[in-house]
């Protein structure tokens, strides 16, 4: 749907500073945009680009201080938002402008039922109470696709799945049919197939109510799927704005071009690598299973949850195996068992001739040296009180035979340079780095013990797209130079295309498909693999041209 009529919200010359201990940091710099009823405006940018701050100010959600709105005007349907007092603002929030957020679990109050939290929207705006509101809430939950809404209305947020929680947030936001819905990274925390459903729901609701949708995202594919118009933000400024199709097909600004280039493309696979020593098997996993006993009642039969169900695969020396699946598919459970962080229910894993699961004491210690792990959240997996030097050299304190102490300093610097950091970074602490840099430190730490196999569990999932590509590039480079093998676990199928030699697709604890990367992308055999590949959203302009809607 194209923009109709005059803008309902116009923002002009918005500049926001954040006061930190030293100088104020400019988060948003002279940003202007507008949105019309029925239109979808996508604000595209990576973390720290100021996109959430711009929309947060619209709803008065930025705390001042430390925030400081230096200048700018907001005209909403003839009202200047900057002139509103607390009560005037309250009148608009929830009734005429509503918002949904990235992480619905954190944005829902854990101690109240979802029904109560949705009902609060009606109560805050004197739009009814009691039984009548309850009926409306049930109707809303049904509309956003929550099954058994009459019962589920009394459930707490933690009793819903991630996708359902976002549906609950949406129900809350559309309760009073707002003129504008601001969606701040609404699908970033969700699996790809769930993401497609949520985007469909938002589109349908927009058609029904004619609301304007402002969507913030860092994901180019989501942006393409939703946008009528796009503005691209970088470092607090708008670097490009225009109709979605134009921006994607003819990006003008260098930053936009770089973002679009960072998208995994079908043609862009590296020149085929000389296959590793394919005939030497480094790791062979046989019939690996992990079952969890579920709590059962006194008389009901014992039930169990099969997190990993009879999985077998092998990794050759120098090879990269991608394990792909959505949350709950069991891919991280495999990683944790291979590292002996969790014990398997049954199965064997032969690493260099020895069964990993029977190792104990000194033998287990020696094995741990040879297999390392890189986690999704590098900040959470590093001790915040240790500096980079101690973080990287810790393996040498544990495995005394790797390196004599006098050489530690030189080797730390060597490793930092190997992963693209500098010698002076050794004295800093983890919080002084960006997400991508922290992941480089995590990789340097993994390399410190001179491993043969590195298990990467969603190692780039928390990073911005352009950074993702850099980190994967680094891993590929190290593979070449050091002859490493990788198990690369991700929910993002396109991302492994350029990196993995072979891919294992997992669903509900089982391997549903295994193939060489190119063959898998060219002719996916299993329905689930096809679903994952198709879950990549189609651009809106294409969908409107062909007038075909995916089911």
């Amino acid at each position: 749907m194209m923009a109709a009529g005059k803008p309902i919200l116009t923002i002009d010359g918005l500049t926001v500073d954040f006061l930190s201990e030293g100088d104020p940091v400019r988060a948003v710099d002279d940003v202007s945009f507008n949105v019309c009823p029925g239109e979808t405006l996508v604000i595209l940018g990576e973390s720290g680009s100021g996109k959430s701050v711009s929309t947060g100010t619209v709803m008065g959600l930025i705390d001042c201080p430390p925030g400081d709105i230096v200048s700018g005007s907001f005209m909403f349907d003839g009202t200047d938002l900057t002139q509103l007092d607390e009560n005037g603002r309250r009148e608009l929030n929830g009734r005429r402008i509503a918002m949904i957020f990235q992480d619905p679990l954190a944005y829902l109050n854990p101690v109240y039922t979802v029904g109560r939290q949705i009902a609060e929207v009606f109560e805050s705006h004197e739009a009814g109470e009691g039984r009548a509101v309850r009926d409306k809430v049930i109707a809303l939950l049904e509309r956003v696709g929550i099954p058994e809404a009459e019962n589920r209305i009394d459930y707490y947020p933690h009793q819903f799945s991630g996708g359902q929680r976002q549906r609950v947030m949406i129900a809350m936001a559309i309760a009073l049919k707002p003129d504008i819905l601001i969606a701040d990274e609404p699908t970033t925390a969700l699996d790809v197939s769930v993401q497609a459903q949520i985007l469909d729901l938002l589109r349908d609701l927009q058609q029904e109510t004619g609301m304007a949708l402002i969507m913030i995202t860092h994901d180019l594919q989501v942006a393409a799927a939703m946008a009528d118009r796009i503005i691209v933000m970088n470092a607090g400024r708008i670097v490009e704005a225009g109709k979605a199709e134009d921006v994607f097909k003819r990006p003008e600004h260098a930053y936009t071009r770089r973002l679009i280039a960072a998208l995994p493309h079908e043609q862009s696979r590296d020149t085929p690598r000389p296959a590793g020593r394919q005939n030497e098997t480094l790791l062979r996993v046989e019939h690996l299973s992990k079952h969890y006993a579920l709590k059962s009642g006194l008389f009901s039969a014992k039930r169990e949850f099969r997190a990993v169900d009879d999985v077998s695969f092998a990794v050759q020396r120098g090879e990269t195996l991608g394990i792909v699946g959505e949350s709950g598919s069991g891919k991280s459970s495999i990683a944790r068992m291979l590292l002996r962080l969790n014990e398997p229910t049954s199965g064997r894993a032969i690493f260099a001739g020895e069964d990993i699961f029977t190792l104990e004491g000194a033998a287990l210690n020696r094995f741990r040296r040879r297999v390392q792990m890189v986690f999704q959240d590098p900040f959470g997996s590093m001790n915040p009180r240790m500096n980079v030097r101690s973080i990287i050299s810790e393996p040498w304190a544990i495995h005394r035979d790797i390196l004599p102490r006098p050489q530690w300093n030189d080797r730390v610097i060597e490793l930092l340079e190997l992963v693209g950091l500098k010698a002076e970074h050794a004295e800093r602490h983890p919080h002084q780095f960006s997400g991508g840099q922290r992941q480089r430190i995590a990789i340097a730490r993994a390399l410190a013990s001179e491993p043969e196999l590195i298990v990467c569990d969603e190692a780039v999932s928390a990073l911005d797209v352009s950074i993702q590509m850099q980190v994967i590039g680094l891993l590929a480079d190290l593979r070449q130079r050091l002859g490493l093998s990788y198990i690369f676990i991700t929910h993002d199928l396109p991302i492994v295309r350029q990196f993995a030699d072979r891919i294992l697709v997992m669903q509900q604890g089982k391997v549903v498909e295994e193939n060489q990367t190119e063959a898998l992308f060219a002719s996916p055999r299993h329905a689930y693999t096809r679903k994952l590949l198709q879950a990549v959203p189609q651009p809106k302009w294409q969908r409107e041209n062909t007038a075909v809607r995916p089911a």
């Binding site: 959600l61 954190a106 109240y112 805050s124 809350m172």
Partner: protein
Amino acid sequence: MMLGYIGRRAYHSILSVIGLLTLVFFLTRLTGDPSALYLPLDSSVEAREAFARLNGLDQPLYVQFFQYLRDLLSFDFGESLRQHRSAIDVALEAFPQTLKLAVVAMTLSILLAILVGALAAARPGSLFDRIAGLVSLAGASTPDFWIAIVGILVFAVGLGLLPTSGTGSILHWIMPVFVLMLRPFGLLVQVVRGTMISALASPYIKTAHAKGMKRRKIIFGHALRNSLLPVVTVAGDLTTGLINGAVVVETIFGWPGIGKLMIDSIIQRDFAVVQSTILVTAIAIFIVNIAIDLLYVGLDPRIRY
């Protein structure tokens, strides 16, 4: 589920109570021979032996201990040397006095601390916040015996407004309650303030603002409810401290509670009463802890036992 949980907890508690009673049994007997206190200084050796025989003190220690355990099984907790009646009756008579004092002091502290802490957290750095911080710090760190004695000097001896000690009228309550409240109030204000500040910074508070809710409802409805868990933990701990016998306060104000009874009995080597007071307070503390756990379930739907 829930009953099973309480049962398991009770079982563990019984084990620890038995351990505690064993320890107390031997420790009290290290304080010396009661006959030295209960008989005249110049009493004859025969008289001392007769006293010991009468009270079972002539037996070897381990025989006395097994005798004690056997009596426990038939709910015989021994006899008070001083009052010549069942030791457990003596303890149970004193306990309600302590309980009343503890309940009043804790209820007032909790309510007041939640109000002050929440208002301070709503505007951190404001004048109110700074005054509340100063008062709570002073409350938490002032020694209670000092405040008690100064209070008696000023309000009872000097101004003659309040009685120095004892029970009876409502006036007798004022000073003991106030002194007992100081520390819990001071600590709780700081806990409430801290957890409220982090609760107010939570994402779900943003959602509430985006819904257009009133600020007062956000603070007391959404933020406070989520900050109560740590408050309950600390308040429970402080409550067990008070039940355990507000020894100093009860002694200074002559309050006939279990803390005062315990001190008196220890000084007079009234072993059976010491053991009974320990038993009564241990059971009370067990009940408080169970109540706290059940309160958790009520406060946070994510907690299940």
